[in-house]
Amino acid sequence: MKIIAIDSSGLVATVALATEETVIAEYTVNYKKTHSQTLLPMLDEIKKMTELDLAQIDAIAIASGPGSFTGLRIGSATAKGLGLALKKPLIEVPTVDAMAMNLWGTKDIVCPIMDARRNQVYTGIYEFGADDDLVRIHEQFADDIGVVTGMINDIGRPVIFLGDGVPVYKEAITEAISVPYRFAPPHMSRQRAGALAYLAARYYSEGRTVSAADHKPDYLRVSQAERERAAAEGKSENVTTSEKIG
């Protein structure tokens, strides 16, 4: 079983070719060029380097959100195009879950944070269970960094932070945290398509796929225009995209 895995949700663009057993290739770039320019050339390079016959691909894994709205759509449209042309399903993997996999095996709790602007982060709180499975203590969500550190303090266990939100919120975390904490080193601290592919392979074996046509990103947030409109009408902000756009 072969998977192409794609994550362009944050500052990093990352693409992998993997089976259940092996990461055949992984290409990760943390550079200022836009994902739109880098993603396909990276996949093309992997294809050439590994002499990949695209007909052998069984599914395309995609970091399905949250993340930069534009970044998510570049990844999603790429995955949807591949799925359409290859007639293969997609595997949606929550962005923050895949990031947590970077720290597989730790006994500490794991807290990936992505800068979500508006003074917020996209995050989730995880641990690795008795059988080393990824367990969600708090499913991925968007909130103020202070709320996140408060939740971790309540759990009361040592924590490791990672993600592109760390440089932005390091000071705020250091000030607010009351449990032992560490920050992941650079090679573990950003989205890695290899980790995404590992989770995706497990989803695939459980039949958790979607059609390329049905896939859309899970933004965790409505658009600014909808938010302002809802506020003007006195409605709660917590309306889902599907309810609003329909």
Binding site: S36, Q37, L40, P41, F69, R73, A77, A213, R229
Partner: protein, 336 residues
């Protein structure tokens, strides 16, 4: 030689569109999903909402275009996509999708300029139309007077210095309470009104005989409304719509006429969303008759944003071997 079939994708604004076009002339399918209802409550296109809808609709639209054309990807010779100008979020969806399809299907990729597409829409229903000809592209985002000297060769003679003509329609329609989108609403109201009722200034751009400016006209309309309100006078919206529309149409026609004479062309092609405006069509046709120039204008379905026109423009790039590589990016302010 068998026909060249191009799968074309267009997502530069609020239409998700895909088409299959053979040899740059024959439309095998032309699927358009319009989001206009989503944006009407906001009084204009909201880029983030448009982008989100594009990602939901793009695969079904492309699949429908392939199915209706009776083609599979193995029958297709190239994948084409609009890469600018337009809204960056919407453009990126089409560009990323087109690149992935071309890559996975082992097909060449062609990046198409949206305005070239609008002009090329004229080839679809007029097999006799060949360059050289003069073209005027008028839409919500663009007002370009273009000399088409050969297939794929475009010389911009004039463009708007501020608002696009279609933008002025939207803003005036909003000011007189006609709603969004302004073009068809003004067109309908103008049919009931007197175009001579109010004399609005014709915008002149001092240093160019071909450039346009519509923000002054728009301000004149808004001032007129303000003055009337202050004096407690009522304004007939139909008369105002008709007079405003005439001011726009007159200046478009005058510039087109100057260009047609100066360049001694025998054919003139109107294009873009505002080319559906009935008064503009009528005046341009009359101008062309007077100048003894053949007049062309696409059917409304090819005036609005569509992918068939992108497939036509792409064909001429295909013939010239002008292909894009995998780093093709969306360029929202792509120059011509």
């Amino acid at each position: 030689m068998s026909e060249v079939k191009i799968l074309a994708i267009e997502s530069s604004c609020d239409e998700t569109a895909a088409a299959v076009v053979a040899d740059g002339r024959r439309v095998l399918s032309n699927i358009i999903y319009s989001q206009i209802d989503l944006h009407t409550i906001y009084g204009g296109v909201v880029p983030e909402i448009a982008s989100r809808k594009h990602i939901e609709k793009i695969n079904p639209v492309i699949e429908a275009a392939l199915e209706e054309s009776g083609c599979t990807l193995s029958d297709i010779d190239a994948v084409a996509v609009t890469y600018g100008p337009g809204l960056v979020g919407p453009l990126l969806v089409g560009v990323a999708e087109a690149k992935a399809i071309a890559f996975a299907a082992g097909l060449p990729l062609i990046g198409v300029h949206h305005i070239h597409g609008h002009i090329c829409a004229n080839y679809l229903e007029n097999p006799e139309l060949k360059p050289p000809f003069m073209s005027l592209v008028v839409s919500g985002g663009h007002t370009h007077l273009v000399n088409v000297s050969d297939y794929g060769t475009y010389e911009v003679l004039g463009r708007t210095r501020d608002d696009a003509a279609g933008e002025a329609f939207d803003k005036v329609a909003r000011a007189i309470g006609l709603g969004y989108p302004g073009g068809p609403k003004i067109d309908a109201a103008a049919k009931r009104g007197d175009p001579e009722a109010i004399e609005f200034p014709k915008a002149k751009v001092g240093d160019s005989e071909y450039d346009f400016s519509f923000s002054g006209l728009k301000s004149a309309v808004l001032n007129y409304l303000n003055h009337a309100e202050m004096k407690g006078e009522s304004v007939n919206p139909d008369d105002l719509a008709a007079s405003f529309q005439k001011a726009v149409v007159d200046v478009l026609c005058e510039h087109a006429q100057t260009a047609v004479r100066e360049y001694k062309v025998k054919d003139f092609a109107l294009a873009g969303g505002v080319a559906s405006n009935s008064a503009l069509r009528k005046s341009m046709k009359e101008m062309c008759e007077k100048e003894n120039v053949r007049f062309y204008c696409p059917s409304p379905v090819f005036c609005t944003d569509n992918a068939a026109m992108i497939g036509v423009a792409a064909y001429h790039e295909y013939i010239r071997g002008n292909f894009a590589n995998w780093s093709l990016n969306a360029i929202p302010n792509l120059k011509m």
